[in-house]
Symmetry: C2
Subunit: 337 residues, 2 copies
Amino acid sequence: MATIYEVSKLAGVSLATVSRVMNNNTPVREATRLKVLAAMEELGYRPNSIAQSLASNRSNSIGILVSELYGPFYGAMISSIEAEFRAAGKHVIIAAGHSEESTEQDGIEFLINRSCDALILHVEAVSDDYLIKLSQSDTPIVLINRQIPAIQSQCISLNNKLGGYLASRLLLEKGHRQLAYISGPLWKTDAKERYRGHQLALQEYGLQPDERLFFEGDFHESGGSDGVAQFLQQGLHFTGLICGNDEMASGAMTEARECGLDIPGDLSIVGYDNVMLSHYTYPKLSTIDYPIAAMGQMAARWVLKHIYQQDKLDVQLVFEPKVIERDSCISLAPTLG
Amino acid sequence: MATIYEVSKLAGVSLATVSRVMNNNTPVREATRLKVLAAMEELGYRPNSIAQSLASNRSNSIGILVSELYGPFYGAMISSIEAEFRAAGKHVIIAAGHSEESTEQDGIEFLINRSCDALILHVEAVSDDYLIKLSQSDTPIVLINRQIPAIQSQCISLNNKLGGYLASRLLLEKGHRQLAYISGPLWKTDAKERYRGHQLALQEYGLQPDERLFFEGDFHESGGSDGVAQFLQQGLHFTGLICGNDEMASGAMTEARECGLDIPGDLSIVGYDNVMLSHYTYPKLSTIDYPIAAMGQMAARWVLKHIYQQDKLDVQLVFEPKVIERDSCISLAPTLG
DNA sequence: TTGTAGGCGTTATCAC
DNA sequence: GTGATAACGCCTACAA
């Protein structure tokens, strides 16, 4: 592989000049620039990015940590982040945190040791304090789906409470009054916020939450099916069900159907996230859109703006969810209201 | 950030010795090793991976190119690759090729310029010749889901023809004789092979393929729905449908149901890939398992073995698909056979 | 077993 | 505008 040195010899200029035409940060006479360009072409020269990084103290790599690499949710996020950086000539190093505190910390450490210029984190298990401390170290971080007041300007988040509110209101507006709720793990902030939104909606309609119609699931399919199974075993009556995410909604749907309920005839269901599967269920799932692709892109822009000085870019920190109505919810006949 | 030099001073040894205890490739007296370790600890020393790379001519990074970053299929693949490398202290740089020749080539170039030690590619649009040429350059490559005789030892692939055969035989065994087939784009090798398997199964049962019951889709949901729509508009009769992948099967299922068909009562459907969505459809989709996670892991092992000299590892190049029976296929009543 | 010194391919700071 | 030359932080013969 040709080096900058060989190029300089062939072009009959100094090594420094070659570097200048590469980075065009210093004026170079047009004639020499062309000579250099020709020499690079002839040698098939490609800059060694590692040497560049060592000399410039910039790796042009951004670390991304997500809970899981598979699944529609993170896929969409990573995809939009990669596209944005790729267009800017940066590259992306990925790691998985598996929603586990020590694994998440390991992952972060791993990425830092890889000399990433910045980190984009979608972490769940790690504490606020840890992240605040981390943000004071050398490697800048951006958080997705997390709100920490002390470092708010680095947090890109969704208004989860509003989403929970919208999901519940969708059913309330359709006349449903007996609502069940299957939540994600309440130690996860987003799960808690979504549930808060639900409570808010109930309150607005003058309803009391019924503890027996609440189930704390795991954000996986089994959480949804377990929840429905429990409600039904207790002989509880409910015509609407709000789930903390689409996976659980899918599990709930399957379980309800196996117990002889017609969806949406006997039970209306709303999910949350609008991941791809919500489109594959039968009936198609009504849900709350989580604009994860846009948020990932924004995280990338944040980095481009603050770390790579692309000042013109605008970043938006808080996103709003919106209702996606499909086929899993129906209006309750007024006589039944 | 502390450097190796500061550590050496604090420990009262030479810089080379510090390097030795880090890489423990040269004997170091236990006492000195401990001194060095203590010094590293005290300074919170972390090796600069970029400097290591420059000096050792090893970046410890592996480039991965897939068609898309989202979607269950690639997610599972990337996930298993990352896990395998992470455990080995290597990291993974990802890029998307979007099934488009120039984008795939750009992506490969991009990764090569990033000084990856090796590339793992799941490419579709790029030609065999290009890949053969590529494999002669400095950066080693491994191919997933592609068979190129000239570089067979670097190809990790699925026996797609067998899968197509198994899918069709599943329906034939259940008594179905009027079979429709919705294929992926035939310029994609895997789509073509799967279809070949189908033809093989028909032949085994003494049946002729009916051209009118063949539709070339796009591997997306719309391909499945378009295919079914076309068959039905032509008033064709068929009791079994094989789809080139699960997405199309899902689309087909939805369309068929909207046309008033009961699944599997009126029509049995088989997919291919066994991605997560096959589990979310209603009824749950019978399909052919594509062990993509295992194949990704194997690609990673290939690299560890051949590039990083982890000689003990065994690699398997060809994988076998298998039938996953769920709820979307039924046996045809003998009287109707 | 340990130290010395040259080199990896750039960038960046000086002079000229 | 351009050319030396010193970093950047580490690895690795070669010597001792």
